[in-house]
Homo-oligomer: 194 residues x 2
Amino acid sequence: MAKLQKSIDKRNALVKATIELVNNNGFHATPMSKIAKMANVSPATIYLYFENKQDLVNQTYIEVKAEYTKYAFENFDTTLSVEAGFEHIWKRIADFKLKECENAMFLAQCDNTPMIDEESRQQGIKHLQPLLDLWARGKKEGIIKPLSDYLLYAYSINPLSFLMINQKRGTFQLDKTHLEEAYQSAWSSIKACK
Amino acid sequence: MAKLQKSIDKRNALVKATIELVNNNGFHATPMSKIAKMANVSPATIYLYFENKQDLVNQTYIEVKAEYTKYAFENFDTTLSVEAGFEHIWKRIADFKLKECENAMFLAQCDNTPMIDEESRQQGIKHLQPLLDLWARGKKEGIIKPLSDYLLYAYSINPLSFLMINQKRGTFQLDKTHLEEAYQSAWSSIKACK
DNA sequence: AAAAAAAGAATGAACGTTCACTTTTATTGT
DNA sequence: ACAATAAAAGTGAACGTTCATTCTTTTTTT
């Protein structure tokens, strides 16, 4: 029997509150007291689950990133063609960013600031391997431009973050049509020219 | 004669210190005292130039953004073809992000977090008009995909931010070759297909 | 000499964290 | 089965620190 006495619910509530508050106010403007209040918990209780504030956001980051990549690669079939495989992953990622908007926003903020320890950031990248493998195959088959993975990511995946941020700000509405257009742009930018 | 007694040098030093410290530690971890120290100024002096900390970063953001767009559109010739005009602007922007790395990093951080007042953010966007005009012309001529400006920006300009951040982190080296490749990807993603 | 600019020390508020204590849950002895 | 007891989880108030900002004094400029 698992010796997990501390309520997983409380932990989850703390992580959830952290995401929401950091999204809306940024790390520097979300005091532990507010996180505790939103999670219906005493400030002191946070320290039963996390070492300190930094540890709280680090762990939150790693967890959300894991969810993200798990979602991205679910049902991914390595026997698919490179193009079909990429479309599948891309659309899963887009899906995640739309459905789990709060989580995705949190990741975007973490990835663009010195909020997170470098170590935790490294940890978060690890699970992206299936996509890198697909790209390697695509390059070998001459279907994908022979670019560094950073370039491929910058042009095919990362733009979604920009769109999502503007979606959240209300300056842009990412509907079905836009999504298909975005996918076409993403694919255009990385597919090899004939 | 201008009634500008307060030293412009001090103000500049404060802005510069703000950029450097916020880049390396984030807004929440850069106290006014450190900004003052780096600018060789008393903490109290900051308040002769800026209302408060928020005003300091807001003004810094607006100034840097203005520099950025000024640089981007310098020598821009509206009689150029859409493709040539876009290449010119794109390369000026890339140039800025490489040469004025600190400034560009600061903008990226501001644009991806709730660090800056919404009002100041709006202020910053205003000067991007020449690029939007060029795109409008490109769409009319059938040279550029008929996408929303947000999509065009997401796929052609914004990827540079991602690359720059990774450059700063040391995980990626953006040299001459990469730059040309990046430009090709940018153009591929927004040019209309024949 | 007056006024502006700058400095450093001072202040009060806010924050992360800890402490002393209570409540809840699990274990033991009968 | 059930008190009695021990251990774990949880709490609210308090602590020490840090920070943004202001106050008082000194320096510089006109």
